[in-house]
Amino acid sequence: MANFDLTRINCQFLDRHLTFPLLEFLCGKEIYNQQELLEYILETVNKTNMIDYTMDTRKRLNLSQEMPEELVQRKAEVLATLKQLQNEVAPIMKATDILKNGESMKDSKTFVNALQKDYNFKVEHLESAYKLAKYLYECGNYQESTSYLYFCLIVMSPNDKNYLNVLWGKLAAEILTLNWNTALEDLTRLRDYIDSANFSTIQALQQRTWLIHWSVLVFFNHPKGRDLIIEMFLYKPLYLNAIQTMCPHIMRYLATAVVINRTRRNALKDLIKVIQQESYTYRDPITEFLECLYVNFDFEGARLKLHECQTVILNDFFIVACLNEFVEDARLMIFETFCRIHQCITISMLADKLNMKPNEAECWIVNLIRNARLNAKIDSKLGHVVMGTQPLSPYQQLVEKIDSLSMRSEHLAGLIERKSKQKQNQESADSWKYY
């Protein structure tokens, strides 16, 4: 299944620290050679300051039990730097702690004023707080890092050169500490900042691409994320463009999100349009499944693709949690489409198309009928499901069509009337002006 694995591509757009969960996940999946993966992890870890993690990886690689000299030295260095930075920031942090309890915390401006007045706060302090946060992050101490970053965010003005970095850092740290609620907040803040800041087109595109990748992590873990991901990726032209030009593979996540979101069925149409447009640059079983089902109406193909989808999802870190939901919803989609087209279906065929046993399928359909989601009857003698669709009578058609007309016309008339009244008023007012 290595050919559908996106980790390699995704990692290009993620922070070094964010890739570790992905890589660790892959370690458990036996798609790639374990040894190679671990070596790659070690290489990546070496670029950070996470000495313990390095050691751990070395152990897993059976390199040596002993800590090499160089690492020991580095550890000492790291600790020393950390100490020094902490010392620099300590007084300010203390002050913050005190102020936190007071009233001034509510507004960042009053907070900064208070800091400056009472505690001799300077810009250099902010700089060092930022440095410390970054250093902590590099050491893997995300929790503490977030608190410093939070401080920075409050105090810093949005024009500061580090502001963007702080935003990114905050988001990464929140993701790594699995604080999805705050992560979502940070995400929106970052997005607003990117959309409003004056980047050159290329820069903006790059920033957005990164944001898209990071946000996938948040969206699939936050309860509200499933709506938001559709909103952001599909209905914000800027982001849709970014996906189309830079990272069409994101279509997989978008497609998954649409499939598992029953309330947003109308997004499907737009999604399919995009998928078709981009089909030459990117296709995988999930997009192909939708294409089979909604473009070609090839149910056999859809069945096969659904089968493939399961393995793909199982091996994808981002969406592995949605596997069951996905399969269930995909089945429902196949069945719905089926019902719209057919008036009579054999249960055995249906079971075949849905990757189910006939008994299970019958059970499933019965449940659907009972929940009133399906207007149908089962003919158990022949093993058929007969749809209860009635063709639209001409009268119904007529009524449907004129339904809104009078409302619309009335509305229009009302508007015009209002408009003309306004005008009259204005005119009379105008005519007085000259006296």
Partner: protein, 910 residues
């Protein structure tokens, strides 16, 4: 002959040119001889001369008229001539002892010959216009009558037409004015630089052979200031000379006469060399001067860089002046180059001289609109290449426009030379295109011209290398664009091979080269025009090689369709060409809808030929002036870049057919039916109007016949009409992978026929078996299944599938007449409300939209999506639509009352 016509068959234009020259000449003369003294002396003019001149000028017009067979004018001129001769008679009898002048006799003889010739040529006579043939008769009679008086002279003339007596005449004539001038010009003439032609001489041997020459020599008798009548420059030069002569007799010779004289003689020699390629009218001769080769430099002068440069400056300073002999300049420069090469003055000087040669050659051709002479162009190419080789071989020479003249450096490295090879090569390229356009595209001439394209490309390549080494971004962009323009329309089969993996992926194809060049331009260009053209060429190239998606994405991303209207005509033509090719590409890549979208704008006007600049339409009632036509001609594409119009139209019609026929079938009773393709409809309707439809002949007839077959769902006949031997040779074989295209076509025809069949005949079935449909249309069952499913989902077909029996069950109950009418009426009312809203919307801006967002949000959104994905035509079409709607609205308002009446009726019926 053709050249003569091209230059202006109306004598008007010619004379106007002459006038210009003449006035210029006047200016020059005024400038040179402002002394009063001379003004007084120049009045001498004998009656003989006056009369003779009059005669000769009339003779000349007669000759001109004869050349273009303008018989009425010949007749009138002949009458003038006889009258003039009558006037001249006393002089003749006095001066020439009553002997008729030879030139007069010659004219009569020629006239007679001419008339006989025309008279004899029965075929030609029939073709003459009424006016012409009438005057021919009159002329013939008159001349016959008239020449009876000269019979003796004529017979004598005919015995020996080329006698020396003529030469004698000339000599006499010359002597006569030479006598005026005193002892003649061997040493005495001192022309200024500006008038080198005045003293041009040549042996008399050329004279008898050429009529023109003898004429001119007669002209020299005149001593007058006749500027406008004489159309020949030589006359004026002659006059000039005579002025000189008169003056020089009274003035002292100057010291440097000797040298000037030598110079003059050299010019003559050069002139002889060049004579082969010159037109007859320029080969004028003046007798009596001894010629001698002039030197560039003094014999003992030490030739070094400053001296050569000074000389160069001297030569070039004459540039652009009216009197300068432009050919002479070129020759002098060549000589200078040889000298500098002989003396090893360094490559920088050589480059400079090369560059000056190039500009001198460009100067030679004064009219921009006309192509330069072929041999000049060849010479230019050669010089250009050798200059670029010099530049490339010597990295220490920097040639640029930005080098100011005072900063030029020729002695020590690094050398700085002022000049711009870019402009030169651009002009070279332009001239090449002009030369191509001059040829008949179907002749061998064109092919042999086209062979030079390789050389042009090579030269561009050289310049490109030079600018890649040292050049600003802007210059690089410009030269890249030149290369792109030679590259983009050429098909490279390697690209497709590479796509199929037949050639290793590392081979560099033209697409790769284009990518590289265009990307540089996208990144570095700061003028919008170069980028736009590069994008267009890039898309064209992609489309040509079936890279449909890349091409489409480039179009969509560039947003060209929004602002192409503001571009210059050449760019718009390129845009049209690009769209045409994109349409063809979409068609090959099985995207019929997109193909139609791309082509519709070109075809709907009915003049794709003009839009693609592949020829002018025959004009109706002088729609455009000559001026306009000239400009339009300049814009035309050379023939080898043309896009086959028949192919284009066929692809358009076929894709329109594939879209339109099922649509018609589906909306047969629909009141709101719109036409997808107007052009296609026209074809269809015109064929329906025919009382008797024969078997199809032309491409259009084939498509129409196919469309008719498709309407009955008869795919076999339809496919046969589209894909057959005739159509293959006419159209389909023009595609690179024609077999694939044909297969694709058959597939589409099957599918669309099936759809049409279902739409048309669904009301006579209650159920249809899918396998039998599949058999009918020779399609696989799953494919049929999928097509029907799609129709059901889109609610085009009121039916559902019955899985156990594999049939389609129709639900559609045919509405009664009343119901159908009611439905139609509802449609109309809906339309009215829609339009009302739209009008209000437009008048009020966004006000309304806010109020109605909830109702229409979804629909509006979908429309936007459509725009993003599929609407190629962008704003222009939108605007059209809006206009149409507006118009529709007014009509609707008028209809309203009718509708209300109708409503009453329907209600009554109910």
């Amino acid at each position: 002959m053709s050249r003569f016509f091209a230059n202006g068959s109306d004598s008007e234009s010619e004379s106007s040119e002459d006038e210009i020259q003449a006035t210029n000449f006047n200016k020059a003369s005024a400038f040179q001889f402002s002394d009063d003294e001379e003004e007084v002396k120049r009045v001498v003019r004998s009656t003989k001369e006056k009369r003779y001149e009059n005669l000769t000028s009339i003779i000349k017009t007669i000759r001109n008229h004869k050349k273009i067979k303008d018989i009425p004018n010949t007749l009138s001129s002949f009458e003038d001539l006889t009258r003039a001769y009558q006037k001249a008679l006393p002089v003749i009898s006095k001066e020439e002892n009553g002997i008729t002048p030879r030139f007069y006799i010659r004219c009569l003889a020629e006239l007679e010959d001419f008339i006989n010739e025309v008279w004899e040529d029965r075929e030609g006579r029939k073709n003459l216009s009424k006016n012409n043939s009438k005057s021919l008769g009159t002329l013939r009679q008159k001349v016959r009558k008239y020449i009876k008086d000269f019979e003796d002279d004529l017979s004598r003339f005919r015995e020996a037409p080329d006698q020396e007596s003529e030469a004698e005449d000339e000599v006499v004539a010359l002597e006569s004015d030479g006598g005026d001038a005193g002892d003649d010009s061997d040493s005495g003439v001192k022309p200024t630089e500006a008038a080198p032609k005045a003293v041009k001489t040549a042996p008399a041997k050329a004279a008898p052979a050429d009529d023109d020459d003898s004429d001119d020599s007669i002209d020299w008798d005149s001593d007058s200031e006749s500027e406008t009548e004489s159309s020949d420059d030589e006359n004026q030069y002659q006059n000039m000379r005579e002025r000189f002569l008169k003056r020089t007799t009274e003035k002292e010779e100057k010291d440097d006469d000797k040298r000037k004289d030598k110079r003059k003689e050299q010019k003559i020699k050069i002139r002889k060399r060049a004579e082969d390629d010159e037109d007859g009218e320029w080969e004028t001769v003046v007798k009596g001067h001894v010629v001698e080769k002039p030197k560039m430099f003094e014999k003992d002068a030490e030739i070094d860089v400053p001296l050569v440069l000074a000389k160069l400056l001297e030569i070039m300073s004459a540039r652009g002046k009216k009197r300068t002999d432009r050919r002479l300049q070129i020759d002098l420069l060549f000589e200078l180059r040889d000298i500098s090469d002989q003396h090893n003055l360094g490559t920088a000087v050589s480059v400079k001289i090369h560059f000056n040669i190039i500009s001198a050659i460009y100067d030679y051709n004064q009219k921009i609109s006309e192509p330069m002479k072929l041999e000049h162009w060849a010479l230019l190419l050669e010089v250009m290449q050798s200059m670029m080789k010099l530049l490339l071989a010597n990295a220490d020479i920097i040639m640029s426009e930005s080098v100011a003249e005072e900063h030029e450096e020729y002695v020590t490295a690094p050398f700085y030379v002022r000049g711009c090879p870019l402009a030169a090569v651009e002009r070279l390229d332009d001239e090449f295109v002009k030369l191509l356009k001059e040829c008949d595209p179907h002749s061998n001439d064109y092919v042999s011209r086209l062979k030079d394209e390789v050389n042009v490309v090579k030269t561009i390549e050289l310049v490109l290398q030079y600018f890649e080494r040292s050049g600003t971004n802007n210059e690089r962009c410009r030269i890249y664009l030149r290369k792109i323009e030679h590259l983009y329309y050429k098909f490279d089969p390697e690209v497709l091979k590479k796509k199929r993996g037949e050639v290793p992926a590392t081979t560099s194809t033209s697409v790769d080269v284009m990518d590289k060049l265009c990307k540089f331009i996208y990144a570095k260009d700061d003028t919008d025009r170069i980028r736009t053209r590069a994008i267009l060429a890039h898309i064209y190239h992609h489309a040509m090689h079936d890279n449909w998606f890349q091409a489409r994405d480039l179009v969509l991303m560039s947003h060209l369709q929004d602002n192409i209207d503001a571009a210059d005509p050449a760019t718009r033509i390129l845009y049209n060409r690009m769209m045409a090719n994109l349409g063809l590409c979409a068609f090959r890549q099985e995207n019929v809808k997109d193909a139609h979208h791309c082509l519709v704008d070109l075809m709907v006007t009915g003049k794709p030929k003009e839009l693609l600049a592949q020829g002018l339409l025959p004009q109706r009632q002088h729609e455009r002036s000559a001026e306009q036509e000239k400009i339009e001609k300049q814009r035309q594409m050379p023939f080898h870049m043309h896009i086959n119009l028949e192919l284009l139209e066929c692809v358009y019609l076929v894709s329109a057919m594939l879209l339109e026929i099922p649509y018609i079938a589906a909306h047969e009773f629909d009141a709101r039916r719109r036409m997808i393709s107007k052009t296609f409809y026209q074809q269809l309707r015109s064929s329906e109007r025919q009382s008797l439809v024969g078997p199809p002949e032309s491409m259009r007839e084939h498509v129409v016949a196919a469309a008719k077959a498709m309407r009955c769902g008869n795919w076999q006949a339809c496919a046969n009409f589209i894909v057959n031997k005739k159509m293959n040779t006419k159209v389909w074989d023009l595609f690179y992978e024609s077999d694939r295209v044909r297969e694709m076509l058959t597939k589409f025809i099957k599918e669309e026929s099936l759809r049409t069949y279902l739409f048309t005949y669904s009301n006579v079935y209650t159920s249809i078996s899918i396998p039998s449909l599949a058999q009918m249309y020779e399609l696989p069952v799953p494919k049929v299944h999928s097509i029907i499913s799609k129709m059901i989902i889109n609610e085009e077909l009121m039916a559902s599938l019955d899985d156990p029996s594999e049939t389609v069950v129709m639900h559609r109950s045919e509405p009664s007449r009343l119901q159908a009418l009611a439905m139609q009426f509802v449609d109309k009312v809906t339309n009215l409300v829609d339009v009302n809203e739209k009008v209000f919307d437009m008048k009020q801006g966004n006000f309304f939209q806010r109020g109605n967002m909830g109702n229409r949000g979804d629909r509006g959104y979908n429309r936007n999506q459509n725009n993003q994905g599929g609407n190629w035509l962008g704003q222009r079409r939108d605007r059209n639509n809006r206009n149409r709607n507006q118009r529709g609205h007014h009509k609707n308002n008028q209809d309203r009352q009718q509708q209300q009446q109708q409503q009453v009726q329907t209600i009554d019926e109910e």
